[in-house]
């Protein structure tokens, strides 16, 4: 850069960076010495013994020291200069600058374009990958992400709109899945009949679990909902005669195309429409079902926000005491949020059971709840687009880790990227929270406003006190 700093400033920077790097090396060495430096392995006599891994330890320490050194030397001054430059030019930006027009355009057109993309996604993938390759992309990426988008939007009603931090959301997902699985298997009812039933049952559970916790606030509420989620999972594990315990429920009936099953028989979908049989039709059908369900969730949320109940939720999120002073019935307000959020969780659960054909308590661990909450918070509480983006990044990102064979070339053939999936996931969660504590989309579009709609910066509101 032409505006380089004077020389006398450059030298202390180097020394400082060296010192920071050395410090980072020391810290990393102390932290990694026991768990990376040694590995515990079982020997031939089944005893546990230590094996030293000095090479790995020192490589890691060196990498961390190097990163710290470079970031202090290069990144920090650059960020400082940028901040200083931004502070100088801040007031000179005209109200209708290019950047602002771009931002407005993006805000206006992002949602329609994204919607268009997800609608044409299956034919697009089919065209690009053919029948063999497309199943993976539609199933692992399309359906998997859309399930989480739907769960995120469902939880968004409870956490994002009503401000009730629920760490046991996966319980309702489990209720929906088991309702569908048990009713379909024992009574032979169809998917389309059981979908609303599962949602209603989950909503009942939402009310049942919501009722005792009405008086709780913030973190306490979070922990009690976590406890409820765990109780439901433990009951699913231990109530073997009904739920099958750890083994779960298998061969759950799959959904049909309005009565036409997706199989190779003469009454099957392919035969009826005169197409050659491939399993991809069911995958595509399931994709559109979950897309419709997710869009239903979004549409209901958007409509509810404009109704008195939706406004009561948002008021509750901002200030519960003010809410009560204004005569809003906080009991019904909280319970409807729990019930409606739970109902969408139940729909998603029923769909999940129908798509997998097999469910077990393993799918409903606390980790799932944590991932869904993280999506809602990291997406920006209350922002539907934010939640959807977070879902795509988090689920798509971890799924894509399975596919990265490139890394094998770098780290050798023994390298298994799937092992590091959750490790990177956790680290990314911390990093994103520190980077943007209020989520990716932290501005608020108020649903009730006077004269004109103004976006509120997220930093001006206190949410989650309910």
């Amino acid at each position: 850069m032409s505006e380089a700093l004077p020389d006398r400033d450059a030298r202390p920077d180097l020394i400082r960076a060296l010192r920071e790097g050395a410090l980072a090396a020391l810290i990393a060495f102390a932290l990694f010495l026991p768990l990376i430096g040694f590995s515990t392995v079982q020997n031939m006599r089944n005893e546990i013994v230590l094996e030293a891994r000095w090479q790995l330890l020192f490589t890691l320490v060196a990498v961390i020291a190097g990163i710290r050194f470079l970031s202090t030397l290069l990144l920090a001054p650059w960020a400082e200069r940028r901040a200083a430059a931004a502070a100088l030019t801040k007031r000179e930006v005209p109200p209708n600058g290019v950047a602002q027009v771009w931002r407005a355009m993006a805000a206006r057109w992002f949602a329609p374009l994204a919607l268009g993309f997800v609608i044409v996604y299956p034919p697009l993938v089919l065209g690009l990958n053919g029948f063999q390759g497309a199943a993976k992309w539609i199933d692992n990426f399309g359906i998997q992400i859309l399930i989480y988008v739907m769960l995120g939007w469902g939880l968004n009603i409870v956490v994002g709109l009503a401000g009730l931090l629920d760490l046991g959301y996966v319980a309702f997902y489990a209720v929906g899945a088991y309702s569908y699985a048990l009713l379909a298997q024992n009574f032979g009812l169809s998917f389309w009949l059981l979908l609303p039933v599962s949602g209603i049952l989950a909503a009942f559970w939402g009310i049942m679990l919501g009722f005792p916790v009405l008086r709780l606030r913030g973190d306490y509420l979070a922990i009690v909902t976590l406890a409820f989620g765990e109780i439901i999972r433990l009951v699913l594990i231990n109530w073997v005669p009904v739920t099958g315990g750890y083994a779960g429920i298998s061969s759950i009936p799959r959904p049909t195309f309005f009565g036409i099953p997706f199989n190779a028989s003469d009454e099957g979908f392919a035969a009826t429409f005169g197409l050659p049989f491939t399993p991809i039709y069911r995958t595509i059908f399931l994709y559109y079902v979950i897309l419709a369900l997710a869009l239903l969730t979004a549409a209901v949320t958007v409509r509810l926000r404009r109704m008195p109940i939706g406004r009561a939720w948002e008021a509750l999120r901002e200030d519960e005491i003010a809410c009560r002073s204004l005569g809003i019935n906080t009991t019904t307000t909280k319970l409807t949020a729990f019930a409606i959020g739970a109902a969408f969780g139940g729909f998603a659960g029923a769909f999940f059971a129908a798509r997998q054909g097999f469910i077990s308590p393993e799918s409903f661990t606390f980790m799932e709840s944590a991932v869904i909450v993280a999506m809602v918070v990291l997406g920006g509480m209350g922002s539907q687009i934010g939640v959807a983006i977070a879902a795509v990044l988090m689920i798509g990102g971890t799924e894509i880790m399975r596919e990265l064979d490139v890394l094998k070339a770098v780290f050798g053939p023994d390298f298994d990227p799937t092992q590091y999936r959750m490790l990177i996931f956790g680290a990314a969660m911390v990093a994103i929270t520190v980077w943007r504590p209020r989520g990716l989309i932290s501005t608020r579009q108020p649903s009730a406003f006077l004269a004109e709609r103004k976006a509120i910066s997220g930093t001006l509101v206190r949410e989650g006190h309910g």
Partner: protein
């Protein structure tokens, strides 16, 4: 009667471990009002550090005295885990101080996922079994069908816990550091105004919490002789239950809550059903929160406008 006595002994041992972890939750919650979700995983990492140190001492350095080895293991685990928690606080929680309330919780959940998976990647997903220590037992009452016995390891656990709580109590009530810590707990802004370094005090709180968790981790390893990467979650949630039951923010409450949870869990498994012991612990959490939100010894949460 004999069964009752035996379960009482077992329950107190388990409760000691829960109490030590619960102290960490309650201290951190007291000082920055945050549920440190990663605390259970810090406990698990401490357990692994203890195991590696113990193996290092006995097989590589040839220390044959188990008591001496255990003493060194305790010190090493406390120091390293304290250092780990200090680093975690600096990286994941300090940048979020003063930010909105859910952010530290999400960050802590991320950290919890990270720690569990770090140990899984570094040490493998299998259960790690240690050689058994202190296997001798003292028979207290003997009858034809049932012996009531205290094992040496239970005595070790009680002794270490009691000594540590004594030292901890002294630290919090009698030293300048303890006074600073209590001051920050009551009102951080006011504490800062009268010259308490709040950031440093919070860091030290995290270090102490981790040191207690490290002792709990070592004792857990001695007691069960086996540890795996996902052993952090269940004890963590139960210890949090203990902290809530005793009244979160209250130090004696955490210990009492820990002992209670330990006893309830053991008696439930002995008299009712082993399968539903965790359900019992979680139900207690829910019931306490609903009928006694401030816990046994906690201050009621007064809401001001």
């Amino acid at each position: 009667m004999d069964v009752f006595l035996q379960q009482l002994i077992n329950g107190l041992t388990l409760g000691s471990i829960y109490g030590l972890i619960a102290l960490g939750y309650t201290m951190v919650f007291g000082i920055i009002g945050m549920v440190n979700f990663a605390h259970g995983d810090v406990f698990m990492v401490a357990s692994f550090i203890a195991m590696v140190t113990f193996l290092l001492l006995t097989t590589w350095l040839g220390i044959s005295s188990v008591v001496l080895a255990l003493f060194i293991v305790l010190i090493v685990a406390m120091v390293l885990t304290g250092f780990l928690n200090w680093t975690i606080e600096r990286i994941a929680y300090r940048p979020l101080r003063g930010s909105f309330r859910l952010a530290p919780l999400i960050s802590a959940i991320g950290m919890s996922i990270f720690l569990a998976n770090f140990v899984q990647v570094a040490q493998g997903p299998r259960n790690k079994a240690m050689p058994a220590l202190f296997n001798e037992v003292i028979v207290l009452r003997s009858s034809e069908t049932f012996d009531v016995a205290v094992s040496y390891k239970q005595i070790v656990i009680w002794l270490v816990t009691a000594l540590l709580l004594l030292g901890f109590w002294f630290l919090v009530t009698r030293t300048k550091l303890g006074r600073a810590q209590r001051a920050c707990e009551q009102d951080p802004k006011m504490a800062a105004l009268v010259g308490v370094d709040v950031d440093r005090t919070i860091s030290i709180t995290f270090v102490i919490a981790a040191a207690l968790a490290a002792v709990a981790g070592t004792l857990y390893l001695v007691y069960y002789g086996v540890v795996s990467f996902n052993d952090g979650f269940q004890p963590g949630v139960k210890a949090f239950t203990a902290a809530v039951l005793g009244g979160i923010g209250s130090l004696p409450g955490a210990v009492i809550g820990g002992l209670l949870i330990g006893l309830i869990e053991t008696f439930w498994s002995a008299y009712f059903s082993l399968d539903y012991k965790d359900v019992a612990a979680f139900s207690i959490l829910a019931v306490t929160m609903i009928f006694l939100p401030q816990g046994l010894l906690g201050r009621p949460d007064v809401e001001k406008v």
